[in-house]
Every structure is written in structure tokens, then in C-alpha cells.
């Protein structure tokens, strides 16, 4: 089925390299299902790390021309996306499809069908139930694959999903009737997942703007971009031009609020002058500012930042400290 999908669409699925990441594949044999969650999220499918916005050039008569770099919407299928990453796309939509429409992101988003893969196991760093995410549900995808042992239960949740299943009907068989039951059985494996209390956390964060809680974390933080780049909901970017003799291009690329020059102004002034200020801002953004604007917390509990932070800054720990009041007592 994956082979056929790869023929008909741009198929993006998890591939084993130095680690497992979502990449474009030409055939099903390149895909691996040996993961809880790929290292890099599917964010780069809609919001690539480096993306040319347009090209400009000067022609023979000295006329200045601009041409868009975006190819007309190619149809994509992402296979193997987990519930946390699927939810993160809804959160990204609030940014890129909110007050200002980002045509680059939206073009891809509208032309992509999401094929989710239900989770029946989890890593020690996973905590998606905290945010009301059911790891084995298809709420945020078009089609959900659930491994019930010897086969996959395949369900469509949207019109787009139904249409794709119909188009590729030859690969699917009739339901035998016990799939739902098998799935419920497998979900028992998720019982031990971390579920933190985030009720009222935005208000609790507001109490912690001043105070020493962020000192330690700020000193520990290296100021690299690992958390922001691996995070499926982080979306900050920079824009730059490259010019050559005959023309050039404008591109955008991921940027990180952890980098010192993120808020550096031309005057030399930097409103977030030290790592403590930057780290504090990041958690405020995730747990308060985003919530203030969109009524949702900007974390999906995928745990990537916890797994890969070289100095073990742990957002689950921070949520727990804030929620329980421990952060305010330091």
C-alpha cells in the first residue's frame, strides 16, 4: 500500500538514518515502524527548516523581476504520525492559519492527508494525556492505523480520509468485528502514562514571573536550539536575503528564542539579555502566553525536549513544580 501511495503522492514516512525522522520515500521498503516517536517531528513537512520564499533577478533590460519559489500544491501523505504530533499541527494552525494566513504553510497543509499510527506503548518522557490527547485516537488525523496484533484497524475521520481509503480500497479487507475489542485490550498498555495536572497553570505561571525559580534552570541552560527545533509546536523563524550578481532569493529558516541574538535589536539593546530571561520566556510562551491568545497550551507532551536536552531541563518537571506550588516556594 505504501508503494502505491508513494507513486500517487509525495509520501512522507519515518525512515531510519542516524535516528528516525520523517522523510520523503519512494517505496514502502524505506519505511520503518520501529519507533514510539521519530526524532524530528512532522513539523518540517509543513514548515521546512529552510524555505525559499521567492527569487528575484535582473534581466537584460535591467528590469527587476520577482518569482515565487513555491511549487503549486503537491499532494502529500504523511504516514505514521502519532497523536501528539497530529495535535501539534492543530496548534500550529492557530499560528499560521489565524489572524495572518501563511500561504506557504497552508498550501502544504491543505494538500496533505494525515495517516496516523495509534500508540499502545510509550516512552518514559511521554506525557500527552496531560493535554487531553488520547494516544490511540484519531481526532487530529484523516486516517488512523491501529495495530491490533496481526492486522491494522484502519479508520477514516474526515472526508479527505474517506476519499483516500476509497481510492486505495484494494489494499483493505473487510472488518472481522473484533478489531475494536482488540484495540481496547492493547490500550491497557497505556495505563501508566504520566498525566500531569495543568488546570489553571497559566494563572499559576503569572505568579512566577518574578522570583528565583528560573535562576537554576537559566544557569543550566546552554542556549542551544535543541528544544525549539525538535519541538513540534515551536514555530519561530527568521527571514534573510541572499544576493548574487544577477539576483538572489529570500528565504526563511527556523530560529530559536534560546539563541542570544533572538531579541537583539539594531541599537544593541536586548530585552532578554541573559539565559534566565530566555528560558523563562520559553516556558511562559508554552504555558501562558499561547494560552492567553488561543486558549490552548502550546505543549503536546511528546517529550522530545526532555529526551534530548543535554542538561536535562524537563518541562514535565516544571509543569509539576508550577502546578503543585513547589516552584513558588523556592
Amino acid at each position: 500500500m505504501l508503494d502505491a501511495l508513494a507513486q500517487a503522492y509525495d509520501l512522507i514516512a519515518p525512515v531510519q538514518g542516524n535516528n528516525i525522522s520523517f522523510r520523503r520515500v519512494e517505496s514502502g521498503s524505506e519505511v520503518t515502524l520501529d519507533y514510539i516517536n521519530p526524532m524530528l517531528s512532522a513539523k518540517s513537512t509543513f514548515f521546512p527548516q529552510t524555505e525559499t520564499l521567492f527569487r528575484f533577478s535582473r534581466d537584460d533590460s535591467e528590469e527587476f523581476g520577482i518569482e515565487p519559489a513555491r511549487e503549486p500544491g503537491r499532494s502529500q501523505v504523511i504516514f505514521g504520525i502519532r497523536a501528539c504530533d497530529a495535535r501539534s499541527l492543530r496548534l500550529m494552525d492557530m499560528v499560521f492559519d489565524g489572524q495572518h494566513k501563511d500561504s506557504y504553510y497552508l498550501d502544504r497543509r491543505k494538500n496533505t492527508t494525515l495517516m496516523g499510527l495509534a500508540c499502545f506503548d510509550y516512552l518514559e518522557t511521554c506525557f500527552c494525556p496531560t493535554f487531553g490527547i488520547d494516544p490511540a485516537s484519531g481526532e487530529d488525523v484523516d486516517i488512523l492505523f491501529s495495530d491490533v496484533g496481526d492486522r491494522f484497524l484502519v479508520e477514516a475521520f474526515t472526508e479527505k480520509g474517506t476519499a483516500l481509503l476509497e481510492r486505495f480500497a484494494e489494499f483493505f479487507a473487510e472488518l472481522r468485528g473484533d478489531e475494536e475489542q482488540l484495540r481496547e485490550g492493547r490500550k491497557a498498555g497505556l495505563a501508566g502514562m504520566k498525566r500531569l495536572d495543568v488546570k489553571g497553570i497559566a494563572d499559576k505561571m503569572a505568579q512566577l514571573y518574578e522570583g528565583p525559580y528560573w535562576d537554576d534552570i537559566g544557569t543550566r541552560c546552554l542556549g542551544c536550539g535543541i528544544c525549539t527545533y525538535l519541538c513540534p509546536t515551536c514555530h519561530c523563524f527568521d527571514i534573510a536575503d541572499v544576493s548574487l550578481d544577477e539576483g538572489g532569493e529570500r528565504f526563511r529558516c527556523w530560529d530559536s528564542c534560546m539563541f542570544p541574538e533572538f531579541t537583539l535589536m539594531v541599537s544593541g539593546e536586548n530585552p532578554r539579555p541573559n539565559q534566565k530571561a530566555r528560558v523563562q520566556q520559553r516556558f511562559f510562551h508554552k504555558l501562558k502566553y499561547f494560552h492567553d491568545r488561543n486558549n490552548e497550551l502550546a505543549c503536546v507532551g511528546c517529550g522530545r525536549c526532555v529526551r534530548h536536552c543535554p542538561v536535562n531541563i524537563d518541562i514535565a518537571q516544571i509543569i509539576d513544580d508550577v502546578s503543585s506550588g513547589k516552584a513558588g516556594n523556592e
Binding site: 535582473r58 537584460d60 535591467e62
Partner: protein, 145 residues
């Protein structure tokens, strides 16, 4: 004024040569005054001392698509600033080995000693290096995307 693009039938390399003011640049000047013939693909940049050339400049030049980068300085022992070229020498060893290790032809970076009186040597070096780099072909670094 937009120049009409020539159709290149053979590869002509773009090579940078950082020449130290006191020896190599003077040697280059002498080569010119003496009318020694040499290929014209080398562009000279005058620096006060070969020791002023940081390795990142060489790396950046190669990454921008230059086919070769040369650093020419005074003979060891004769540096106008006493020690500059000794430091260049150490750096050049490390850089050459690092470039090779990454898979970039080491001939694309060359360090040579040319004194103010060695006009003939300058033109010989320019010819030799141009030939070497022409044989290597274009530097594909800038195309790696």
C-alpha cells in the same frame, strides 16, 4: 550593463591569492614588471602578513565557490613581523589535513613562500597552481545544498 555570458568551452578556475605586503606582493609586482607570462586566473589580495589570513577566510572562500585559495608569504625566518609566517605554517598544516579528511582536494589550498626578489618564482607558482586546480576541475562545494 549586463554582459553577454560567454559559453565556456573549457574550465577556467577562479583562484584567490593572499599575498603578504612585504615579500609575496612585491614578488608579484616584480613578476609583472619583468613581464613574466602567467595565467590570469589568479586574483591577488594584499595583506600585511600571511599570518593575518585566518583559516575561516580560506574555508569561506572555498565554500563560496572559489576553486582554489593560495596564501603567499615571506620565507620562514624572513617575516617582516618576525614570526607571522611561522604561525601561518602551523595553521596551514592543520587546515590542509582537515580539508583532506573532509574529502576536499588538499591542492585547493596552497601555502607558498615567495620573496620580494622572486618574480620568476611567483609566476612559476601561479602557473603550477593554476594547472593543478584546472586539472581538479570546478569546486563543487557551493553546489552542495
Amino acid at each position: 550593463m549586463q554582459k553577454t555570458k560567454e559559453i565556456q568551452t573549457e574550465f577556467k578556475p577562479k583562484i584567490l591569492a593572499f599575498c603578504c605586503n612585504w615579500c609575496a606582493y612585491a614578488g608579484a609586482d616584480l613578476a609583472g614588471v619583468s613581464r613574466f607570462q602567467m595565467p590570469t586566473d589568479v586574483r591577488v589580495i594584499r595583506v600585511m602578513c600571511s599570518g593575518r589570513v585566518p583559516p575561516e577566510l580560506v574555508i569561506r572562500a572555498l565554500a563560496n565557490g572559489l576553486d582554489g585559495v593560495m596564501v603567499l608569504g615571506c620565507h620562514p625566518g624572513d617575516c617582516h613581523y618576525s614570526e607571522g609566517n611561522y604561525l601561518t605554517r602551523r595553521r596551514a598544516h592543520i587546515l590542509k589535513r582537515l580539508l583532506t579528511y573532509i574529502g576536499i582536494e588538499p591542492e585547493r589550498f596552497q601555502l607558498r613562500w615567495v620573496s620580494a626578489s622572486e618574480g620568476a618564482k611567483f609566476s612559476a607558482v601561479v602557473k603550477e597552481v593554476t594547472d593543478q586546480i584546472t586539472a581538479l576541475g570546478p569546486n563543487r562545494w557551493a553546489e552542495k545544498r
